[in-house]
């Protein structure tokens, strides 16, 4: 893990979350419908970004340690605490070296899922936990394991979105409210390196992206009526496969 890469990934995750904060807040009906999941994840990521900005770590293991610690210390709310465990699982594997091969990424997702599940007596499915677990399972499929690192990440993320779309089938309170899980939606945004700045390519203006824009305007129209919320899976996502090459590069 290189500090500069981790900084960029964290910043992108923070930008993604900030852009979708309101939508994620509005999705929040579980475990308590207090509408703060998006805000909590933004605050968690913000403190990670700040801690990494202040970091002087050089070796991969030191970068991993700083990231893991930043996630732990900055964890806000339920979703932030779960994310801190996911980050810890990732860094346990990826901190070992700069190698970002597909098998190693697969192990990182598995470690992230296991770490997340380890910290609760009675895991509730249809939440952020389900999303990270299905990502890990996708990473272990023989077919996925043969992919290049960037295609692997795209496949894992697609599976995460698919799992997110199915969360209402797993958790009654979500189905009744007509929403997908807020924490899971936040996790998908965090794991989505959908930003060309990361690739050092021409800057892709999100606002100019018609697809994104349609989704974002709909977000703004949403208020407190959970029942009218669209499922995020209805908002097409683009550019993922190319953007994910940053991890493997």
């Amino acid at each position: 893990m290189e500090l500069e890469t981790v900084r960029m990934l964290s910043r992108t995750a923070l930008q993604n979350l900030e852009a979708h904060r309101k939508r994620i807040d509005d999705l929040n009906v579980y475990p308590v419908p207090d509408g703060d999941t998006g805000t909590n994840l933004v605050l968690t990521l913000r403190s990670i970004v700040e801690a990494l900005d202040a970091s002087t770590a050089e070796a991969s293991a030191a970068v991993a340690k700083d990231l893991s610690r930043a996630a732990l210390m900055g964890a806000r709310g339920n979703s932030g605490v779960i994310f801190s465990q996911i980050a810890r699982g990732f860094t346990d594997v990826l901190g070992g070296s700069d190698d970002m091969s597909t098998p190693r990424l697969a192990r990182a997702f598995r470690a992230a899922s296991d770490a997340a599940y380890r910290a609760v007596k009675r895991p509730v499915e249809g939440t952020m936990l389900t999303v990270i677990r299905e990502m890990a399972e996708e990473g272990e499929r023989r077919k996925t394991r043969r992919l290049s690192p960037s295609d692997f990440l795209a496949a894992v993320l697609a599976r995460g979105e698919d799992a997110l779309a199915r969360t209402p089938e797993m958790l009654d309170v979500l189905r009744e409210a007509g929403v997908v899980d807020a924490g899971g939606a936040g996790l998908v945004e965090i794991e989505d390196p959908d930003d060309a700045a990361l690739l050092g390519e021409a800057h892709r203006d999100r606002a100019a992206d018609p697809v994104r824009r349609a989704g974002d305007e709909r977000d703004l129209a949403l208020k407190s009526t959970h029942g009218n919320l669209p499922q995020p899976s209805a908002i097409p996502r683009t550019n993922r496969a190319t953007a994910s090459t940053v991890l493997s590069g």
Binding site: L72, I82, V120
Partner: protein
């Protein structure tokens, strides 16, 4: 836990009440599903032998101004304890309100131990 009933509704035909045990069960379910909680604390060691301390991980008492609840949990090592505690508290209060609609005068969450599961 002492047998104690709590009135949740009164009608012309009679009252509807729930026991402290039922309330404690709901508290227990809500807490066990809270992220970071890996167990409930029981009476251990000397306290167990000498019958000190609260009898169970969950203690429910009726007070004039509402329920007084004490909850002792075991949390996974390495988590932000303040955030876990706050989440447990919010979740338990929400479930009590949703299921019983009774006023809660106090809810104390004690993190009794941390457990390292690896």
């Amino acid at each position: 836990m002492e047998r104690e009933d709590h009135i949740v509704a009164e009608t012309d035909l009679g009252r509807i009440s729930v026991s402290s045990d039922a309330i404690a069960q709901v508290v227990g379910y809500a807490a066990a599903e809270s992220y970071g909680v890996v167990g409930m604390a029981g009476r251990r060691g000397w306290a167990r032998l000498l019958s000190w301390g609260s009898r169970n991980a969950i203690h429910v008492e009726r007070r004039d101004d509402g329920l007084a609840i004490e909850l002792r949990v075991v949390v996974e090592h390495g988590l932000r304890l303040a955030e876990v505690g706050a989440a447990v508290r919010a979740r338990v209060l929400y479930e009590l309100e949703r299921q019983f609609g009774m006023p809660v005068a106090s809810l104390e969450v004690h993190i009794d131990r941390v457990r390292k599961s690896r």
